[in-house]
Structure formats: C-alpha cells, structure tokens
Amino acid sequence: MTDQAVEPEVGRARPRKEDARLITGQTNWTDNISVGGLLHMAILRSPMAHARITRVDVSPARERPGVIAAFSGADLAEGLGSLPCAWPVTEDIVLPDHPPIAVDEVRYAGDPVALVVARDRYTAADALEAIEVDYEPLPPVLDLEAALAEDSPLVHSDKGTNRSYVWPLRTGEDFDSVRQRAEVTVKRRYHHQRLIPNAMEPRAVGVTPLAASGEYTLYSSTQIPHIVRVMMAVVTGIPEHKIRVIAPDVGGGFGSKLQVYGEEALALAVARKTGRPVKWTESRSEGYLATHHGRGMIQDVEIAAMRDGRLLGLKVDLLTDMGAYLMLVTPGIPLLGAFMYPAIYKMDSYDFTCTGVFTTRTPTDAYRGAGRPEATYAIERIMDELAVELGLDPVELRRRNWIGHEEFPYTSIAGLTYDSGNYEAATEKALALFDYDKLRAEQADRNHRGDSVRLGIGVSTYTEMCGLAPSRVLRDLRYAAGGWEAATIRMLPTGKVEVVTGTSPHGQGHVTCWSQIAADVLGVPFEDVEVVHGDTKAAPQGMDTYGSRSLVVGGAAVHHAARKVVDKARKIAAHLLEASENDLEFTDGVFSVKGSPDARKTIQEIAFETFTSHDLPDGLEPTINAEHLVDPDNFSYPHGTHLCAVEVDTETGQTRIRSYVCVDDVGKVVNPMIVEGQVHGGLAQGIAQALYEEAVYDDEGNLVSGTMADYLVPSAVDLPEFTTARTETPATSNPLGVKGVGEAGTIASTPAVVNAIVDALRPFGVHDIRMPCTPERVWRAVRSGKEARS
C-alpha cells in the first residue's frame, strides 16, 4: 500500500452537498409540512400607523363556513406575555410591552389586530374581510428628530418619551481637545434609509400539538431555533421541555429570521386553544409589513485631522429608528457598529453616542451586517470628504492612517483588539486588479472634455467584528445570552459520522463545510459525514446562526469535538495494537505503530469496537463520541479593500457600475466556492442599498413601497461582473484561522459605490447623494451643481 497523503478537504471548492436536493425541489420548507387536520391561520393587520382600537368584532368571521375559530387581541391576551427584547442596552432603557397581537392600540401599519383559523388558507384569507374593527386615529411619529421634541406625539404614551435609550462610548483623548488642535475638521450628516430584507423563502410557522403529553412541535422558518424555544417558553408559559423547535429547510434570512416573532407565539396559542395543528405563511407583501426592517439611521459624523492627513479623532452621533417596539436585539444593532466607526485607522480620540428613537413604523432589527455597514459607510464616506479637503488621493489618505501589518495585535481606539490583518497587501492587490491609475487618467480626460458621462472611483477599506461572540463581552454590553457554540460528533458502528451542530443553516452551506472540517480531523471520506441541525431535539444545544459566527465559533467547535474523538479513539487503538499511546501515529484516519506500519487500525474500526465493546481497556467509556462547546475569547476581524468604478450619465442621472474589484481577507478558507458565493451575494445587497432599495413611507405612515414592484431588489442582470480575490491572513483566535464571510460584501460595498458616484460628480460641486442614489437624485444634484456654478 502506498502511503500517499490524502488531499485535505479544507480549502477544496467542494460543490455543496445541499444543492442537489434544493435545486431539484426535494425540499422541506415549513410551508411544505402538512399533517392531518391542519388548520390555516390568517392575520388581520392594522391599515393605520397609529390608532386606538375601540372595537373588534370577529364573530362575523366565525360564522363563515370552514372557519374554525377567530380571535381578537383581547381574546388571546391572557396566556401570552410580551415578545422579548434580549438586549436592553442601558439600565434605564425605555422598554415597552410588545403584545404579539395588539389589544388596545396599534403602533405600525401591519400590527396584528385579529386572526382567523380555517380549514384552508383561502377560507381564512376571505374571512379576514368579515372582521369588524373600529379605529380612532392617533398621530403617526415618523421623523427621528421631531420625535424627540418636547411636544411630539408619543408612540407609547405611558412612557412619556419617544427616546428609548442613549448609549455613549468615549475613549482616548477628549474630542473637544483634539478638535482644538486639529488643522482640519470635516462634519457631515449621512442617512441610512430603511431596508426590507428579502429572503427567498417568506416566513412560515407551523405548530403540531400532542394533547396527551402537552408537547408542542413548532416548525419555523427561523435562523434561531434554540433561542426561539427558550423565548416561546417565556412568552407562552408552555414549559421549555414541552416545546420542540424545528427549523427545517430555511430559505435565507439575512438577519430577518434572527427574531422571535409574534406569529410563532400566536400559532402556539391557537394550537393550545384549539388542540389542532395550525400553520401560517406570510405573503411577500405581508412580510414587507410584518417582518422586521433594517438600517434606518441618521449619522452626524465629525472627523479631525492634521494637514498631512494624520487622523486625530472621530465624533459620531446617531439617531436610530427602532420602529414601534424593541424586538429581540433591536437596541443592540447600533452597538455592533459602535466599535467599528474607527475602522482600520489609528487615532487619539473617539466619541460615540447613539440615541434609539421610537417611531410608528415596522420594528427594525438585524439586517445583513447589522450596525457594521452603517459604521463602515460613515467612516469611509467621510474619509473621502477629508481627502478632498486635504487635496490627497483617497487611497493615500487611508494609507497614512491605517494600522500597519507589523502592528498586530492592535487595540483600536474603540477598545477592540484586532488579532491580525494586512491592509497594505489587500489594498495593493486590489489597486493592481482594478488598474487604478488608468481609470484615474480616463476620469481626468472625461472631466477635461466635459463628457456627459462621467467616471467616478470609489474606495472602501473595511474591517468588521464578527464571529459573535465572547460571552463576557456580551455581558458587558448587557446582552442577555452567551455567544458560545456547541458541536457533537457521533461515530456510527459502520464507520459513518454524524456531526451535530448548534448552528442553524439557512442557505450558507454548513453541511458541506462541517463535513470538510470533520473529514480532515477524523480522516474519513467527505461523503461519509452527515450534519444534523435545526431541531432542538436532535441538536439540543446551540446559539444558532447570525453575525458571521457559524464557521468561526461553530466550525471551531466541530474541529475541537473531532479532535476529542481522535483522542478517545487513540486509547482504544493503543489497547488493541498493544502499544503505548505515545508510539501511535494518526494519519488519514489510520492509527499505526511507529516503526511497524502493518500494525494499524482505522478510526472506523475503532468505532465498531465501541459498538461491540468486546475488547475495550478497563474502565473506559464504550464510546468515542465527543461533544465540545466553544466560547470564543475574541471576535474575528475580516478586512479588505473594495474599489468601484461607475459611469454616471449626467443627462439622466443613471449610474452604471463599470467595474468592481474586491480583495477580501477572511482568513483561512474552508470552501472557496462558498466564499465566492457569499461575497457575490453580499455585494449585491450592499450595492442594493447604495442604488436601489428603500422602504418609503407616506406622511400618514403607510408603507408606499409595499410590493416588489416598488421596492427594487436588483437581479443578476442589474449587477456588474465582480472581480473577487483574497489575501489570507489567518485569524489567531480559533484553530481553523477563519474569520467569517457572511457580511463582508454588504459592509464594504455600499460606501464604495456611493464614494464612486460622488467622486464622479465632484466637478459639479456635489459632496453627497442620499441613498439610494436614484437617477432622479443624481440628476437633481448635477443640476443644482450646474446652477450654482452658472
């Protein structure tokens, strides 16, 4: 037998194990799951942003044939607690009650007011129209600044204020003092529009009650089955051990399914009341109202520097739109950004304040990047403004301020310790791929000629904190849970392997990557590994999937658990081979005795030995299965440099992305194809914020962009060819050296695109365009620039 080393699985572009099934439609979405006697739930939602409910009469709906039951909020109030907020960021935070269904007041268009359960979903939808509700309109609260005025109408009148909290972070030298010694200061206001997450699969919930045992199985299209289980016990009073949560196939989330939703509680309540299984699936337009939104922020940013470009300090003052209620992590989202505004730069002073504001709109919460895209946008936009002020090339300004690769580990002004990075390498690679100098020359030429189509170049150098999260840091930030992750490896008698993970995939490819990690450590074929997830009965421990954490924390747990399996197997192999453990080698799944290569046992053989347990060492547990929980001791810090060239048609205002180059450093890569896919998708969503998407409300607080006809999600034809590349600086905080890639593209791309558009329009005196940079906004900016000049 030749002793040829097997090619490692980690690093291979394995096609995803998940895909054949998903692509051919052999899927198990929540909405596909059906059981006998299933009832269908439909929810009547408030058509008004803010109103008192003076009367709800569901009885006409109850009389419809096929309707089994109908409930008002009052009917369900008993037995349902408030939906949870797990991140009360300050001690004195204003944290209003959030009933899963409104009882006496609605606070956003889409707030549930009544529901129907019927034999089929058509009957249920029709019966909603029979429900009678009287509303007494109350004034909407829509403007973040006006909401804080003394005389503003209130979203929660009993609270006496629309201010939920003020959270400060001040580090280093006092900002007033650096402002005084600064030679240049630049101050800008930036707006982040509200975004509506668009997962491919809308949300769906199903509940199957088992009357005899009092158990409930809750199927939910969720990112967080484990957290939902805990929270449903709290909200409904059903004991936790009587609730099983299953997240079957889940078609995307982007943070929108990192949530504990009213519909989950309502489905449980209905199943408890009727004793029947019940299901609810949102429509796309219903989801636009009822699934949480993202972003929604006004940023006042001031940067202080010396003439040579050296940064002295940064001041950031945020107003962030909470919407009507604080949901699972609503108030904490800006805090995930709070530490990232200083980004990759060295400075002496940082002064951050965030004010959370209630409005009568759909609640906001995590959306891909969650706080970090906002931070990266602000710093990368104002760095460009500063470069203009100083007459420096924007890349050169960054170069003069970033942390040198030799300075790692580096503790940032915000107090994070960046373990590794190489901003120089990523930037050099990006500039070369982009052909930066040539594009600058073309830009100058077009400007000189007065071409109606201008060229703009945008740069965005970013880092992010991900791999959420060290539990002690979460404690300090007043987050109510930990940030650990769990994995179990089960070695089956026939040598096959089950990896049980507490992470909860919804499109990322965990099954493939966890198989690659386990296959390498155990020395078993990739094909022999199955991954079990998304069922609190099968994978009882976990903190689920969000914040680019699964690989960094959950993948590390798989690695550690697999190492434990090998260590356990080694004892049995030593016994069977009659050798000392120290004399054993373990390569490609085979234990052998040093010096006598014929004396060997495969790990599969050891697994079978534990099944029979006929010949194990005295006192040894008859298993090599192992479990491991990881609580990370630091975040991970992906970084990179993105360059975008746009052509702006100054006659129509239309922007076309001509080229886009990104060089990301996400550390070691388990599966390059999956990383590539994550980068593409991330870029699409970041570009969408820059150019296309916006949740638009009218003056009454109605969502105007309420369908995909008006809320513009770009498709592949609207996006440019991406040039992606990587540098690879391993993370030092986990054994795999990985950093996470789920959010990088979204975080980096938005400022790259807007910087490019503004760069194109500098000759017209333009220094900002509000997102999304619609053709009309661009055209108006050009026109007012021209008028100012003439």
């Binding site: 939808a125 429509s283 796309r284 129509t652 150019l691 296309y692 498709s715 619609t774 053709p775």
Partner: protein
C-alpha cells in the same frame, strides 16, 4: 397573496369566450385572463375583485402572426417571447420586436401576451406606446361581430381601453414599417421594473433628412401618448443638433404622474432626453 373567490371558465373558441363575457351581463364583473402577468398580481393583492374570470389561454386561433398585404396581423394571445422571435415581426415591425424584448424578464415574456398587455392599458407598459407609434389597429370581437379600433382611440384612460365589457381583443394589426428606422429607449432602474419613461421612435428618412418621425411615449400620462409637437419639429431634421432641438418639445402636452419612482418634472426631462436618444438611434444620425 390569496385572491378573492371568483368563478372561472376556460373557453376553447373566441365565440365561446365572447358568449361567456356576454352571459356575465350587467352587474357581474368579468375579467379576461390572458397571460396573467398583470391580472394575477392584481387578484392576489386583492386590488381586483372580478366575479368571473374568462381564461382565453386555450384558444389556438388567438395565437400566431400572419401577413395580410401591407399589414401584419398578430393574434392577441401571441406571447412576448413568440413576438420577439417571429421572423415576420422582425422583418416588418422591428420596433415591436425590439421593444417587446425589453419587457420584464424571460419568465414574464413566456407567459405574457401582446393582446393582454394592450388590453390592460397600463401607460407604464412598453407595448401600448409602441403600437400607438406604429399606427396599429386593434380588432375587437363582441356578440355582434368584429370591429376595428385605431390605437389612438383604444387607450381611453388609466387602465381603461375602448373595449366593451362583452368584447374580446382578438388581433393586433400593424402596418409594415419596412425601411423605417426604429428604436425603443426604455429608462428603468432595474431590469424587471416598469419604465419610468419609455420612448418608441420610428423614423423614415429621405435624402439625408428625416421625412417623417413618429414618437410614442410610455408612462407620460394616463394613457400612452404621441409626442406630436416633437414629431412635427423633427420633420426635415438633418443632423443631431436639429434632432436635439426638436426633442425639446417631447414633453409638450403630457401629464406624467408623480409617484414613488419619479417626479413629474423629472419624467418630463427624461422624455426630452430619451426622445433625442431614440430618434438619433432610429435615424442613424447619432
């Protein structure tokens, strides 16, 4: 996304379809289902509440393209996809093929039909302005036979055509425009979105000058419009500058909407810029 209840019938001939519409009679709101790309969303969003849906999707005589002298006759149920690929349309009505290729995405083009999009009379749809520019005619069949409606008389108001409730649009007739230059200039933010403004241009040149220009405007009012003032000004134009000057009149007489995707002022501006571009492209003087 669950439509309200309705009755449904799927006739297999035009006569049967017209009878179904006529039988629905007064007071009962019947809707014709063609490719479903407009009606189904309206039903699912509960913006339309017909009592009867007459599905004309299985009537073979409504599909296909044929020559009739100097005219092309296109069955109302011919899909966008088939219009784009049809050799007769490509040869004799290039503007229609080019504009139809910009409609939404391949999935929509495989389902959606020419007649359906015209009968829907949405001024944001691409094809009403195109058929208007082509001086097309629409053939309606009712209980008392067929009648011909000129495109300029067909689009009455927003989502409202000249069809009577018991009439079915069966055929679209466009004069052959061999020898005319053409271009459809569509301005939208993403490929699947409706045009903010679209301009359909047909140009006949004579001796290096524009002898005749026809300009149809998408989404510049409650109905598709002709840019009559610009058309007049374009006659005789011999170069790009003259086209640019004439295009300044493109928004005259229009009343574009102000909505979530654009202001009226911006639409008027776009009409001028896009008319200039469309005519330049159609005339080959660009």
């Amino acid at each position: 996304m669950i439509p309200p209840a309705f009755d449904y019938t799927r006739p297999t001939s035009v006569d049967e379809a017209v009878r179904a519409l006529a039988d629905a009679g007064e007071g009962e709101d019947a809707k014709v289902l063609a490719g479903g790309q407009s009606l189904l969303p309206l039903l699912r969003l509960r913006l339309a509440f017909p009592e009867l849906v007459v599905d004309v999707g299985r009537i073979p005589e409504l599909r296909g393209v044929r020559e009739d002298g100097d005219t092309l006759a296109i069955g109302a149920m011919t899909t966008h996809h088939d219009v784009v690929r049809d050799p007769l349309v490509r040869r004799h009505a290039g503007l229609l093929a080019a504009a139809t290729a910009t409609v939404a995405d391949p999935a929509v083009r495989h389902r959606g039909t020419l007649g359906g999009s015209l009968a829907h009379a949405d001024p944001a749809g691409d094809l009403p302005a195109v058929v208007l520019a082509l001086n097309g005619e629409l053939i309606a069949q009712g209980p008392h036979g067929r009648r011909t409606i000129a495109a300029r008389d067909f689009f009455v108001d927003y989502l409202q055509s000249a069809l009577e409730p018991d009439e079915l649009l069966v055929e679209v007739r466009v004069p052959k425009s061999d020898g005319w230059g053409f271009h459809y200039e569509k301005f939208h933010r993403v490929a699947q979105a409706y045009a903010i403004v679209g301009v359909a241009a047909l140009v006949r040149r004579d001796d290096g000058r524009i002898a005749e220009a026809r300009v149809g405007l998408t989404n510049m009012g409650a109905t598709p419009l002709r840019a009559a003032a610009a058309e007049e000004a374009l006659a005789g134009a011999a170069d790009a500058q003259a086209i640019a000057r004439a295009s300044d009149a493109a928004a005259e007489g229009t009343r574009p909407a102000q909505d979530v995707s654009a202001s009226a002022e911006y639409r008027e501006h776009l009409a001028r810029v896009l008319t200039q571009r469309a005519v330049l492209a159609a005339s080959g003087m660009g």
